[in-house]
Symmetry: C2
Subunit: 332 residues, 2 copies
């Protein structure tokens, strides 16, 4: 009788604003999703109770009589995976929170916790644009530059999972101050926020830029979508800003290629919707600058596929692998 | 009877100038070393014949009646480890040379080939200053900046072993042209050659520098030893050159720490004999700039221990691991 019950796996994404949950079947198919507000000002036990309730509700909705087999949790910040503890999360304002233990008590099934950027990289490598590759590096261009590294099909995060901070590698030693205190970090030049900051500075220097009309005269209203509209409309300032931005982003990409020589480098984040404007120039620089040329040991460059769901896919892949449920060499 | 014969393992280092060989016993103890000129202008088969002869001679010298069990070979350039082929070596001027097959024919035992920088990193991680650590990155400061990456006790070299080129990561986007064609590579600022180039430029700007008398008025005669004599003698120009050099080197070290968060970063190369002048300022910058601070997930910084023998130790560790001879989780 037990045999006929479908197995379910939940992926949770503990964001500072929303708790997102995805329910997957045995074959790794996403059956359904839900999101509830985090309300992070509450005690963590309340937040985790809501998360558990969301998981159970979604499991019920996705399949009657289903067994919740395991739950993977992606969380912002430093995670001690072995103990299932969020060591520190600036985003959630949590320190030393035993997420795994709490959720296992509420959900009565095994729970594994990992950093959300690592979860996204694993998700893309298992089910997204990195499918079929051994070594995958994901750079997510948002407020900062997030990154996740998958080597030999497994997340590499370094000591205490504190590594994989590619956004905080200096590419301009005498450059701009980064939020981390160093100068010239990739994040300070290649994040989506940095692109908009540079676009606003460009507008200020060029009163005739079409960007002014696109944002109705309010530089603060300029977002990624409007900026790329400006580029497509042939605005010279927007084109120039994009060119310089891509030069810095490419420097980071070539650095990653030379250090890891991965099979593929993936770019994530909202601005990757504009991939036709981003990928061709970045690929040209990569092919030209990669050490020893890009023919013999080709590094591919593409955009991520799973968007905000990458972390859910990755969290489930992680818990399934770490519980050794899967057969195929520990991969989904 | 066979049981009583001691087992020997040889490490070979195929340098552009010398073929070096080390003989190790079953417990990983270096029993003896030898070196013969490479004479690389000859056909590769001649070079490999000499290498094999050196191995056999040394085996005979180190132990009577010994069985040569396996040979590990470190070689400069791109190596296809699975096939035992040197795909391309600028240093030896070899392309697609089946080193493994040739030496197995001559030596009648299993041979494995790997890149020499990777061999050095593995050697340090197994038998040298990285002993006991899981994740070790070695930066070798010489003509260039070589690097080897050991993650989870195993060499990470990326696709076709073309990765681990940390020397060719940009740290100054608008900086000096590197030999690889990019601008501002770590190698262009942090190699031992770069230090001397900067010292010579400093002397030229400062006719009163003590470096002039140390090199008897000939800047070309300035070497690392004389430069550090200048620093120790209190020469202001030498001190200033060193300070700026260490700033660039530290940028590379912090980048490595943020990307890999390894247990330890090791510096190799001749100038590391001056470790009392190098390590304290580098450690200060590392502690200050590493992402999130260096307390919770401390990255150590030290100099390598095995010098030019590191590659021999590493080559033997590699062949023993890949033949699964060792019991202790594949480690010596």
């Amino acid at each position: 009788m037990k045999q006929s019950q479908p197995r379910l796996y939940a992926g949770l994404d503990l964001g500072g604003t929303y708790l997102k949950c995805g329910m997957f079947d045995d074959r790794g198919v996403l059956l359904g999703k839900t999101a509830v507000p985090t309300k992070r000002e509450r005690p963590y036990s309340e937040v985790l109770k809501d998360a558990a309730a969301a998981v159970l509700r979604l499991a019920e909705e996705c399949a009657n009589n289903a067994t919740l087999t395991a739950v993977g949790v992606g969380a912002p910040g430093t995670v001690d995976g072995a103990r299932g503890v969020i060591v520190y999360s600036n985003n959630l304002a949590w320190a030393d929170v035993p997420v795994g233990e709490c959720l296992e008590g509420l959900l009565r099934c095994p729970v594994r916790v990992l950093n959300d950027a690592n979860a996204a990289a694993l998700g893309e490598s298992v089910c997204g644009a990195g499918r079929g590759y051994e070594n995958v590096v994901l750079l997510t261009l948002g407020t900062g530059v997030g990154s996740g590294i998958v080597l030999n099909g497994t997340i590499y995060a370094g000591k205490c999972s504190a590594g994989a901070e590619i956004g905080h590698t200096t590419v301009r030693r005498v450059g701009m101050r980064c939020t981390c205190g160093r100068r010239g970090c990739l994040e300070a030049y290649a994040s989506a926020s940095a692109l908009l900051r540079r676009a606003r500075a460009g507008m200020t220097r060029d009163p005739k830029s079409r960007l002014w009309s696109l944002c109705h005269g309010t530089p603060e209203a300029l977002d990624g979508k409007l900026f790329f509209e400006g580029v497509r409309a042939g605005d010279g300032t927007a084109a120039s800003v994009l060119k310089h931005y891509l030069g810095d982003l490419a420097a980071g990409i070539v650095n990653v290629a030379n250090v890891f020589r991965p099979d593929i480098i993936l770019l994530g984040g909202g601005i990757c919707a504009e991939k036709d404007l981003l990928l061709p120039p970045l690929r040209r620089i990569l092919d030209k600058e990669i050490f020893g040329g890009n023919r013999r040991a080709n590094v591919e460059l593409d955009v991520a596929e799973l968007g905000n769901d990458a972390g859910l896919y990755g969290a489930v892949a992680y818990v399934r692998t770490s519980l050794d449920i899967t057969k195929n060499g520990g991969r989904l």
